[in-house]
């Protein structure tokens, strides 16, 4: 199966599997069984579609298989069979059905790993084997994780619904965190990019679905803008030999300016609601970079200001580290170093702390210390592209 066919297949499955799962849960009232039937139908599609082609109505095809499987395998459950037998395609769609699915998969009573796995399987129609490969976890382990989560949903009484207004914002934060982690895993992850499914695609698709379903939630817009602003610049992140290129050295003509403009529009619209949140602010910081015509033209004052707002809403040592980098270009290496020193204890195990320190030391002419800091960063990262970059830097430091 070539890449184009694989990508088309992934798209067709993703577009329809979640909808089908949502419809089946609604009609039968049984989350776990509905989800099993859809997964069966997806596996069947992945066997048939590559040779027979994607059917004209993939949704009807998946539905027919799921329904037939259900009628075959659930012989003993007369009640369930009766409900399933009455089902006709198209099932009357409800606009917010998939939203219920997402909120159930990302329920805070489930562990984070299970939320991610379940969302990918139930909402995006990924197979257990695909999820296992993406997270470098054996398929059996992933299967256990998913089975356990589905059992907890049934037995602990996790409801299948959109949370009430007073809980919505906390629960939405949970969903956004799952999508953001998924994106990061795909964008920065150490897993090789040879899967038939790209996690970054799935993360963007989920963020876009959430934005469509909850258009008045500014943080959903912020996350979508954040992901799209990153992706719009993806072509410049690696050179032709597959080596990492850092932001100052990137060829900005490779950036997708239309995509950047699009994402910025989403962000600007969200900002009009005047409810800033961590995703909107992170997206705004990236938008500052994305809109600067060169590294030298970057609006560092604005970026430091945005970091201050972000730290106010969501304090974190990693965000303070990123602010330090911006501060270097606004106030100089000495000021940045003073800030960086305050993070030494908390971030001693974080490779980017040491890499940032190395960069500042180089600017201050302290080359020996710079090499040592890059060496420490090298010990702490498992990412091959980052390792290669650090080795190059150490070799080029006088």
């Amino acid at each position: 199966m070539n890449d184009v066919v694989a990508a088309e297949l992934a798209c067709a499955v993703r577009e329809h599997a979640g909808r089908l799962a949502a419809s089946l849960v609604r009609v039968t009232g049984d989350f776990a069984t509905a989800e099993d039937l859809v997964q069966d139908a997806v596996l069947s599609a992945l066997r048939h579609w590559p040779t027979e082609g994607i059917p004209e109505h993939p949704d009807a095809w998946l539905f027919t298989v799921a329904r037939r499987r259900g009628l075959d395998s659930l012989r003993r459950d007369a009640n369930y069979r009766a409900k399933l037998a009455q089902l006709e395609w198209p099932v009357q769609p409800e606009p917010d059905e998939r939203l219920r699915l997402i909120f159930t998969c990302c329920h805070p009573a489930l562990p984070r790993e299970a939320q991610i796995a379940l969302t990918l399987r139930v909402v995006c129609g990924m197979t257990t084997a695909q999820i296992g490969r993406a997270f470098l976890v054996p398929e059996t382990t992933m299967a256990q994780r998913i089975t356990r989560a589905k059992r907890k949903i049934a037995e602990a009484g996790i409801p299948y619904r959109i949370p009430a207004d007073d809980e919505l914002s906390a629960r939405l934060t949970e969903v956004l965190a799952v999508i953001y982690l998924l994106f990061n895993e795909g964008y920065l992850g150490t897993a090789e990019q040879v899967h038939s499914r790209d996690l970054v695609d799935d993360a963007e698709w989920l963020a876009s679905l959430l934005y469509t379903l909850m258009p008045t939630e500014p943080e959903a817009a912020g996350l979508l803008a954040l992901i799209r602003l990153h992706r719009a610049r993806a072509a410049a992140r690696f050179d032709e030999d597959g080596r990492f290129v850092l932001l100052p050295q990137q060829d900005r003509s490779l950036w997708d300016s239309a995509a950047i403009a699009d994402a910025t529009r989403i962000l600007t619209r969200a900002a009009k609601q005047r409810q800033p949140g961590p995703y909107q602010l992170q997206a705004a910081i990236i938008a500052c970079h994305a809109e600067a015509e060169s590294w030298e033209h970057t609006d560092w004052e604005q970026i430091v200001l945005l970091y201050d707002m972000l730290l106010h809403l969501a304090p974190s040592p990693v965000t303070r580290l990123n602010r330090t980098i911006a501060l270097r270009y606004l106030s100089g290496a000495h000021a940045a170093m003073t800030e960086l020193d305050t993070l030494a204890g908390e971030l001693d195990r974080f490779h980017l702390y040491h890499a940032t320190r190395a960069d500042l030391l180089r600017e201050l002419g302290r080359f020996e210390e710079a090499r040592a800091s890059d060496g420490r960063a090298l010990e702490l990262t498992a990412n091959p592209a980052e390792q290669e970059l650090l080795q190059r830097r150490i070799a080029n430091t006088p």
């Binding site: 329920h107 009573a109 037995e155 009484g157 996790i158 949370p163 009430a164 809980e167």
Partner: protein
């Protein structure tokens, strides 16, 4: 659905309670009473337990029953009481628990079946 809420106390919490003055203690009790009153329609019974140093544990999986002084897990967090509640689903149970004004940890456990 029915759930049992297991109330868990920590050493810190016990120390804080012990340090309260008479009027503060009264206010703390009033808050707990208020919580019971406002959720009375969902509560199906339960008990406050005596301190874990009064517990006796019996092990039946080592031949003859072995009787040991103390709770089954020794630790800084101890079960101090339980309540059975009846609510629609886990979200409603979570809403009830989130407003609990007493001890700092509560475990929510669905009931599989009732023994009596």
């Amino acid at each position: 659905m029915k759930y049992v809420l297991l109330f868990v106390e920590t050493e810190e919490f016990a120390d804080e309670m012990a340090a309260l003055g008479a009027s503060e203690r009264e206010r703390a009790h009033a808050r707990v009473n208020e919580w019971f009153a406002s959720h009375a329609d969902k509560l199906r019974g339960g008990s406050r337990l005596k301190s874990p140093d009064t517990a006796t544990t019996v092990r039946l999986d080592r031949g003859d029953p072995v009787i040991v002084d103390g709770p089954f897990v020794e630790g800084k967090e101890v079960v101090s009481g339980y309540l059975e509640i009846e609510v629609a689903d886990l979200d409603e149970a979570l809403r009830v628990v989130k407003t609990w004004p007493g001890c700092p940890v509560v475990e929510i456990r669905p009931i599989e079946f009732e023994a009596m």
